[in-house]
Symmetry: C2
Subunit: 153 residues, 2 copies
DNA sequence: TGACAAAGTTAGGCGAAACTAACTATATTA
DNA sequence: TAATATAGTTAGTTTCGCCTAACTTTGTCA
């Protein structure tokens, strides 16, 4: 296994990791200021987190330089991002939740749901997608079901 | 509305509330020792939490006495327990997750999922239940889908 | 009824995560 | 190239949630 699962990360550190991954998607590095803005946190908090991530071998950090992810940092961040996307997709495409709420909730839930649930959710999304191709559109049927129910209230 | 939603509760306080509700379901009161055991926490932590819950008007607490919930404490706890049950039911009955894992995950996720998601999940459970009565057993089909997929791996 | 065990509390401390305010480094530009 | 604006850091503080160790209260039983 190459994917060095660096576990034992707090929800907060996972957020920093994910933020860096996203910001670095084009440029390969992330500015403290942008991380701070993205996470709604002060710059000094970013400095603190960067030091911790460095100590854990997940980020390359030198004072007054941009932050980059190490190999295992990238792997860990990618896992978190994957969880995030699966959750968001489930919320939007299966449950029919509004994008904004789906996004926000995915951010929180990605830290609390274990692999068993995540993999099953992924499976479930595939299942629904597949059956819609076979003419049985569950997501659509579900929406109708919801609408009918809401009318009765 | 009677349900005095006392929000702004930390995940931790919600856990205490839920624990007290569960322990008090028969006797109407909860011993510190039992709360501590249920939550895997020291008794002094329970004392601290009890004081906070009292200050928030959610629990009746007097040193060296059992803890009971106030009216609004009960309402808040019931809401949390409801979330918990909806989540657990979704995990077990729709996703087919093992009971233990479902239970544990529900404990964590109940603090992070907002009402929109929870209500939709409830709706979804009803939808699946209903359609299984009409001869279309989704949960079962999904299990088959999962099994087939796992075989291919 | 008095000694002892069990239950509960208090005091003090620790680590995580955030903040503000003051300082330092870097970059820009006149 | 020196002044200044922007970015980043450091120091010190706060809040939360938990812990251990020592103490107090309550309840039991010989």
């Amino acid at each position: 296994m190459v994917t060095a699962k660096s576990d034992n990360l707090s929800a907060s550190l996972e957020d920093y990791l994910e933020a860096i991954l996203n910001l670095a998607s084009k440029s390969n590095f992330a500015h403290s200021k942008d991380i701070a803005k993205l996470l709604g946190v002060s710059m000094s908090s970013v400095t603190g987190a960067s030091r911790v991530l460095k100590k854990k071998g997940l980020a390359n950090y030198k004072p007054y330089n941009c932050v980059t992810l190490t190999e295992s940092g990238r792997a860990a961040a990618a896992e978190i991002a994957r969880k995030h996307n699966i959750l968001k997709s489930f919320f939007v495409n299966v449950l029919g939740i509004e994008t904004d709420i789906a996004q926000q909730t995915a951010c929180k839930a990605e830290h609390t749901l274990g692999p068993e649930i995540i993999e099953r959710l992924l499976c479930f999304i595939e299942f629904v997608t597949q059956s819609s191709k076979n003419g049985c559109d569950w997501a659509d049927e579900f929406q109708k079901f919801c609408n009918k129910k809401n009318q009765n209230v």
